[in-house]
Symmetry: C2
Subunit: 458 residues, 2 copies
């Protein structure tokens, strides 16, 4: 009997205890972007320290100017990996669209099987705990892990990770290892596990356009005074051309053409564009003309408006002509697109589009370049085979439309490659109301990590 | 000695008591558009009933499906006028821009003299009370009014007056009179009183565009899924052409060319476009090319966006791709523009502009045609001369950019002409933070009404 089998059995037998532990963590409303939830972020960090300690892992909460980090070490032998996850979650508005309290997690029966419902179920508390529980099972069965594992948990991932790079620099020796493991991505489909080897970068911008000095009455000034909502709308409407391409000058510098090999690999995945869209009530791809969905999501940059706000937005009507109009805009980046150059070009484009009497203020919300993993490290193929043993279909190397800046930071700050394995599904509704994580993702995720730890020990 | 002089003296001697009464009314947060303030609207109606009773006027609070009306009668002799004002006020957001509590009114010294600060100071509680106080002074001095006065106060003016027309129809005999007097407009300038003889109409529309069925993560769907904020922005950007004209099909049907006489009359007012704009931090007219400010405000129709809201708008950043995006849009109408036809044309235009996978829901927020007063009634010239006696400059017949549907309703529902006299100033910041009413407007407003009552009795 291998070392692995009793670990897998232990995971199977203790699934409900593991789920209850995840629920404990999910009950803490650790929304990092909203200062009102600061104490809850701190509480989530404390919970993780205590949970690691209960497994015999030496862990500490480490202060930052923002929310704390949690770092733990097992001081084992063999290959040294650092596992990264984040304990903070997205805001929950609009709250009225949730069918249950986002911070009262529960198991729900659905047509597709049991799911864990609640904010953070998939992003990232459930995923983070798949790894922690795999380690707990190894230690419970064998008294130790098959390799040397360090833990590194962040509480600011959903708010731009302002403390991350300084913390990595200050603790470079402690956080460096042979390989970083990250669990914050998805399966290719419910039967096909994935290792994400290219991630888009992210640039966030908030702009506020001011016209009149004060809010005006549209009866007294309407028609004569400039309206900043109209100015902002015109700017947003101008950000894409008729082909769906982004119009910011120089935007496509550094966007690579896809290699025929990669194109073939992705074609072989037989991604179902129609089903992908249908799941969210859509029927047509709305991006750059002539691209497939996978290209749009993994290989092409975007410009999206994530929020817009101005004037009176409550119930009823108010004939105000507002002084200010704001929007939050983000760019997903690929290849070697330079976030700093794009930020400058975007700001200049907005400035150039302003009519008389308008001014604009910008606020940057973090920026990260796209990341391309090197899969030359044999650990990648070992992990791919280990995952293939657990799931119905073999694992695939895939791209990822989301931005996981930490993967790039491991490389640039710690000179450590990162391997991204995750068990999320497209319909998890992360960042949305009614977020869920399939119980199967949680269960087989733990089993997958147990297998990967075993594979990396060989 | 005339009957008038002791009334004017009584007003002068009792200014501070009158101001304190206005403060009492202003302390009641009677925001009609927000259901949370329903009880306060009721309290404001009660206050008015009690205040009228204290002057010996028989007044009653009258229930409607919305906020109550207040109706009072003096049963005097001579010409019968019905005075209309509204006791409800606009919402106060954004509250953080107020320098003091909007519902804690106070006298403030400013460079331009003393002002009454607070929500409703000018719109319309302060204006309403100029008339009530003028009546109180007449009664105090002479035991009665020089003409027969009825009072009619509404509590839904700032939320589209849904109960007004039904109430007028049900109480037609009681509310009809020889002439309606309305105090909800402004001076032409601080030295020149005005009687408003043409008012723009108003059409309010709220639209909500839905794209994906749920909010999406911009990393997982950005680039491929339609973004309703982009769709809405494009529609808003298309509502005006490069000349500043509204593009809704058929919009300009019924917009009259100005007569040379009216053009001359308005030119003679020597309106200072630059000063008008400069007061709110602007330097250029932003409306239809080739029109003067007075034309834009009094004689031309508009389309304005009064509010827009979608996605994440709190602190920080959230990479959401929202399911829905909403805007509140209003049209100011002139001449014989048909609000119903324009509503239909606007909705059709939006429908036609929707890309695949998007749907739209509309909500109408009231509509009123423009109103043109007949100044043939000698009461208009009598009132104009009475106002000219009170102020440095003679009174003028002017247009009004705002929409005061009640003026049209008096004509269509009660067959009563309306005379609009008000003492607001352009910088009163009505509908904005830090609303004020000059103490001079309040004081000379009361004196003006005392003079008008006297003039109408001759």
């Amino acid at each position: 009997m291998s070392n692995l089998d009793p670990v897998l059995s232990h995971i199977d037998e203790n699934l409900s205890a593991a789920t209850e532990r995840l629920f404990e963590l999910m009950r803490i409303p650790s929304i990092s972007t909203d200062p009102a939830f600061k104490e809850h972020c701190d509480a989530a960090a404390d919970w993780l320290v205590s949970d690691l300690a209960s497994m015999g892992v030496t862990a500490t909460k480490r202060a930052t100017p923002g929310h704390p980090m949690v770092v733990g070490h097992t001081n084992g032998t063999g290959k040294h990996v650092t596992f990264y996850g984040h304990y903070d979650v997205q805001p929950v508005d609009p709250l009225d669209l949730w069918h249950s309290d986002p911070f009262a997690p529960a198991l729900e029966d659905t047509d597709a099987g049991k799911v864990i419902r609640g904010r953070g179920a998939a992003d990232d508390k459930g995923q983070l705990m798949t790894f922690v529980e795999a380690c707990r099972a190894w230690i419970a069965v064998h008294g130790s892990l098959p390799i040397n594992v360090s833990f590194f948990f962040e509480g600011e991932e959903e708010s731009g990770s302002p403390s991350l790079i300084p913390f990595m620099r200050e603790n470079k020796d402690e956080l460096s290892s042979d390989l970083a493991l990250i669990c914050d991505t998805g399966m290719f489909d419910p039967k096909t596990p994935a290792i994400s080897t290219q991630l888009r970068g992210l640039l966030g911008e908030e702009l506020t356009i001011t016209g009149p000095r004060i809010d005006l009455h549209s009866g007294m000034y309407g028609g004569a005074a400039i309206n900043p909502i109209r100015v902002l709308s015109k700017i947003i409407a101008s950000l894409h051309d008729a082909e769906g391409r982004v119009t910011v000058p120089g935007f496509y510098e550094g966007v690579p053409e896809m290699s025929p090999e990669l194109q073939k690999q992705w074609e072989d995945l037989n991604f179902d564009d129609a089903a992908f869209l249908e799941a969210v009530g859509l029927s047509e791809l709305a991006g750059e003309h002539g691209k497939t969905a996978l290209e749009m999501l993994w290989a092409r940059p975007t410009c999206e408006v994530n929020g817009i706000n101005a004037g009176y937005t409550g119930d009823g009507f108010k004939t105000v002509l507002p002084s200010k109009a704001s929007a939050k805009i983000s760019f997903r980046l690929v290849g070697t697109q330079d976030p700093h150059a794009i930020r400058e070009a975007f700001r200049q484009m907005v400035q150039d589009a302003l009519p008389a009497d308008c001014s604009v203020e910008f606020k940057g919300h973090g920026n990260s370049s796209a990341v391309q993993m090197s899969t030359a490290d044999p650990a990648f193929e070992k992990a791919r085979l280990a995952l293939s043993d657990e799931w119905p279909n073999p694992a695939a190397f895939v791209g990822c439309g989301g931005s996981i800046p930490i993967a790039g930071h491991f490389k640039t700050e710690l000179d450590t490659d990162a391997m991204l394995i995750g068990f999320g599904r497209d319909d998890d509704a992360i960042h949305s109301p009614n977020e869920k994580y399939d119980l199967e993702s949680f269960h087989k995720g733990m089993r997958s990590w147990a297998r990967v730890l075993d594979a990396l020990s060989r």
